[in-house]
């Protein structure tokens, strides 16, 4: 039985700020989205954490279509280019597109395209959120189901859980909360509010949320707003993923959890793995702070002897990537093996510790930012030499001509929607290069950070 096949009951499935929905009522909502067609189609969801969006998602999966989930906040230019490339047959969201007509709650493509979609394909997710490209991760029905089951097992999610969904459903971590809690027949508290808002905490209190999830920035916010001193007797589980949380904060929250009789899970994953790959069992988080823990049930972690790269094996490893419509026809190209791009070591208990990254990307607010892509995009917009570096706190953009600072800032803020505290433009006399002419990123990073 898959998590998206709803078993009708009087149990509470979803709670929004306005209303509660039993599994029976959720099922009725799901039925309102009729994605009926003889062949498999692509459904695009412009996501907000709303009951309608969740229902459309479940209906599309129940009808065995492929679903692409994108944040409703994605900039219009990127949205249009994605629609032009992938030609979804149905779109759910408030933005209206040319070439579509409104049929009830859904926009339907006027001229149907007959591009075949692979029978196993379930979900298409971007790895870089609203800042992204047209590249998507292809996840199969088996991928998401097996990951949901593994998460239920190691987090020990039962039907009494009431998880607050404070991460976007277009984000793999957020989506995994939905999938795993539906799998466990638990309840989901849907909200678009962040931990920085008063309404959020009223919702948590009134609806007695039992778990909360966060990327590293969420934990920085939680610490700043005095979460550790809040009285939250119903909240029993905290989970963290979406990038490395600094060890000091891991220890603070681990200590807090221990004292308050709560569980704190530090986890590791990638959208490419649907997304969860490892976790630290909560009772060992103090002693194992700084590690990514052990593989999830059914998964396997190892280190490539030659390169030191962390390799994951499991049934949750994606089918592959898609960068154009024709890619949706492709089958599994990975055979359950994922090269994570992270280098790692392991300790005497076989807990894994990430030591570095093989590819040029950073993670800001839980989302991956490909430095080469940013460079290319900025160069095409600003028309000057650009070199990017950074760490998981900040994106650093080096230029060699001062007059372009404002222009670079404008593009970064418009296109990547990055807050100004999350990046810095640095003017260097010259961008460091090797004799070959290639940019010397090691020296560049030293000069910028």
């Amino acid at each position: 039985m898959s998590f998206h096949n709803i078993v009708v009951s009087e149990k509470i499935a979803v709670i929004t700020e306005e209303k509660q929905y039993t599994y029976k009522e959720l099922n009725e909502m799901v039925q309102q989205f009729k994605f009926s067609s003889d062949d498999k189609k692509l459904v695009l969801l412009l996501c907000k954490n709303k009951i309608e969006m969740l229902s459309a998602y479940l209906s599309a999966l129940n009808n065995h279509h492929a679903v692409m989930l994108i944040s409703a906040d994605t900039n219009a230019e990127l949205l249009i280019s994605i629609v032009n490339e992938y030609k979804p047959y149905w779109i759910v969201g408030t933005y209206s597109f040319d070439g579509y007509r409104q049929v009830g709650l859904i926009q339907e493509r006027v001229s149907s395209s007959n591009t075949p979609i692979h029978k196993d394909l379930a979900i298409l997710l971007s790895t870089s959120g609203t800042t992204g490209s047209q590249k998507f991760v292809r996840l199969s029905y088996e991928n998401i189901q097996s990951n949901a089951e593994a998460i239920v097992e190691y987090l020990n999610i039962d039907e009494n859980e009431r998880a607050i969904m404070n991460l976007p459903m277009s984000y793999s971590y957020g989506l995994s909360i939905i999938n795993s809690h539906l799998q466990a027949k638990a309840s989901i508290l849907l909200t678009d509010e962040s931990v920085m808002s008063k309404i959020f905490w009223q919702f948590v209190q009134e609806q007695q949320a039992t778990s909360i999830a966060g990327v590293p920035f969420t934990y920085q916010m939680l610490q700043r707003i005095g979460f550790l001193k809040m009285d939250l007797p119903h909240l029993k589980t905290l989970t963290q993923a979406g990038g490395r949380l600094n060890e000091k904060l891991v220890k603070i929250f681990a200590q807090y959890a221990k004292e308050q009789n709560k569980r704190f899970f530090v986890m590791y994953g990638q959208t490419e793995a649907s997304p969860r790959m490892s976790y630290i069992p909560s009772e060992r988080v103090v002693e194992k702070a700084g590690s990514i823990g052990i593989a999830i049930p059914g998964g396997d972690l190892s280190i490539d002897a030659e390169t030191g790269e962390l390799i994951y094996k499991g049934s949750n490893v994606m089918m592959g990537y898609a960068s154009c419509l024709a890619d949706l026809e492709k089958g599994d190209e990975m055979n359950g093996i994922l090269h994570t791009g992270d280098t790692a070591t392991s300790d005497q208990d076989d807990y894994f510790i990430i030591t570095g990254r093989m590819k040029r990307f950073i993670k800001l607010f839980g989302l991956r930012i490909n430095l080469d892509e940013v460079e290319k995009k900025l160069e095409s917009e600003v028309h000057t030499l650009i070199a990017c570096t950074g760490n998981d706190d900040k994106l650093m953009i080096a230029i060699d001509k001062e007059q372009y600072i404002t222009k670079v800032q404008d593009v970064v803020e418009q296109y990547y929607k990055l807050h100004r505290t999350a990046y810095k433009v640095i003017v260097l006399d010259a961008i460091p290069r090797f004799a070959s002419g290639k940019i010397d990123y090691v020296t560049l990073k030293e000069r910028c950070i």
Binding site: D73, W201, F217, M221, G226
Partner: protein, 78 residues
């Protein structure tokens, strides 16, 4: 003077023109004032007014007018 100082902090933390910082400018009502900007705003206020805002005040600071009201409790004169 503090009013202008606070206005500048708002404009810089949210990345908007000072003219857009009106009394009833509200959290989450414009894309620029999201949780990330709010976090930056709070730390900038703490830095520049030498305060350490409480939980309640961080969460309550949902308009520019409200920010002045809250800061008054910390002996910042407007």
């Amino acid at each position: 003077m503090n009013e202008q100082k606070l206005r500048t902090i708002f404009a810089e933390s949210l990345g908007i023109e000072e003219s857009r910082v009106t009394e009833d400018l509200t959290y989450n009502s414009i894309p620029e004032w999201d949780s990330i900007a709010h976090m930056a705003l709070i730390s900038e206020i703490d830095d520049q007014f030498d305060t350490m805002l409480d939980t309640e005040d961080v969460l309550e600071m949902s308009t520019f007018a409200k920010a002045k009201e809250i800061l008054a409790k910390y002996d910042v004169q407007f």
